[in-house]
Subunit: 238 residues, 2 copies
């Protein structure tokens, strides 16, 4: 039975971290909400339906038989060992989850550069706050997070990956971070990319993995746009 991924149909967003894992693994899955209005309705029925025993708070979530699993990092923690994208030992799996949760925090900071005050207000309504938030993000948060991930790569004795000697879901997340930062902050990120040689090399290696390369060239990869986490607003890219 295929995995069923439930996420918004028109953005990469948090769901993309799960899509990358499923695609790289060649897993059999259905991207339910991309199946049209009925798919989107099925997604909201699982969030709002009164007969769902353990409903998710928000997309993305994954259905695997009787299991309904929400929260991006939790989904990847569950999926990783099943699709060959996590190490075998429990200590490594916890470390991988820890890194992915740090990605979650970073993504929230990235999102909040364009929506610092409230997600319920338009970008245009909070643009002055966003300019200051983005400047502080570029100055402090971006180097702190990216420096951390670079350090993790440097400390791994087994190879050029986040954890152990092979690719895991966290490596795919590193790829996505580089892609997204290049999209959202082309000027600011270009200035500092050379500080993260291991991350860039990992990004380049991931991009050449056959199944992922095919995915990225396909219509299944939704282009970056101004509805997701990473948004190209030149006014925020100093």
């Amino acid at each position: 039975m295929p995995y069923e991924l439930f996420y918004h149909a028109k953005i990469q967003g948090r769901g993309e971290f799960v899509r990358l894992a499923l695609e790289d693994a060649g897993a059999d899955y259905i991207d339910v909400a991309r199946g049209g209005d009925a798919g989107t309705a099925a997604m909201f029925a699982l969030i709002n339906g009164e007969d769902v025993a353990r409903p998710p708070f928000a997309p993305p979530f994954l259905r695997d038989g009787d299991m309904l699993i929400a929260q991006t990092a939790n989904i990847l923690h569950y999926l990783g060992p099943r699709i060959g994208l996590a190490p075998d030992d429990d200590a490594s799996r916890l470390f991988l989850l820890q890194v992915q949760l740090t990605v979650t925090d970073f993504i929230k900071d990235i999102h909040d550069t364009h929506h610092p005050i409230a997600n319920s207000l338009y970008f245009e309504e909070q643009i002055e706050a966003a300019k200051l938030a983005a400047a502080k993000f570029i100055e402090l948060r971006l180097p702190k997070y990216m420096g951390y991930f670079e350090k993790i790569l440097a400390r791994n004795p087994a190879g050029r990956y986040i954890c152990g000697g092979g690719i895991t879901y966290a490596d795919l997340s590193m790829f996505q971070l580089v892609q997204g930062l290049r999209y959202a902050f082309p000027n600011a990120f270009a200035k500092v990319e050379s500080n993260y040689p291991r991350l860039i090399a990992l990004h380049d290696e991931v991009a050449q993995r056959p199944r992922l390369k095919a995915y990225l060239a396909s219509e299944r990869r939704i282009p970056f746009n101004e509805m997701g986490i990473f948004r190209k607003y030149p006014v925020l890219d100093a």
Copy 2:
């Protein structure tokens, strides 16, 4: 060997969710950074030391023998089964982690009411943005999250807890959320408390648990203050 918890010595913050679990379980632990300057130095040595194989990004983190585990929800996911605060089956443990990660998201939203633009700026430098952020938080995010947790309690067929028939670490987190919201938003939260009868009943039950009650009355419980997640700024409490 006692667990070693590493977290800032003068705030409840994210570390408090781990402290509550350790205290309620009667676990043998050391709150390292509260042991004075040497404890704080030991904490930063684990973050910044060049010989740490898998360094954390930030506190809180827990050391258990060879294991060094960061990210609040990850720590609780690890600790829960070891200290009797998680169910036995894997599906329930994943659900518990999912709920705790939703707590993580909620806490970030709560924190960002007083620091919407950047943590590196003073509250006073972003007070106008904070007023708007807090108003939107009270209007939209607070009821969305608290309504979700109330729903989870209502859907649990086994009892009045988040998951299964007994107390888990997520129930202790619900207690802490109610405590914190009462502290930070005494006016706004008082107006809506009656919408969450199960959460309030759970809070009251947790507060009476003998070990937790003793902890809350002790000097080990750091009082809420204006350096943590929950801050009492009347200007933000409409």
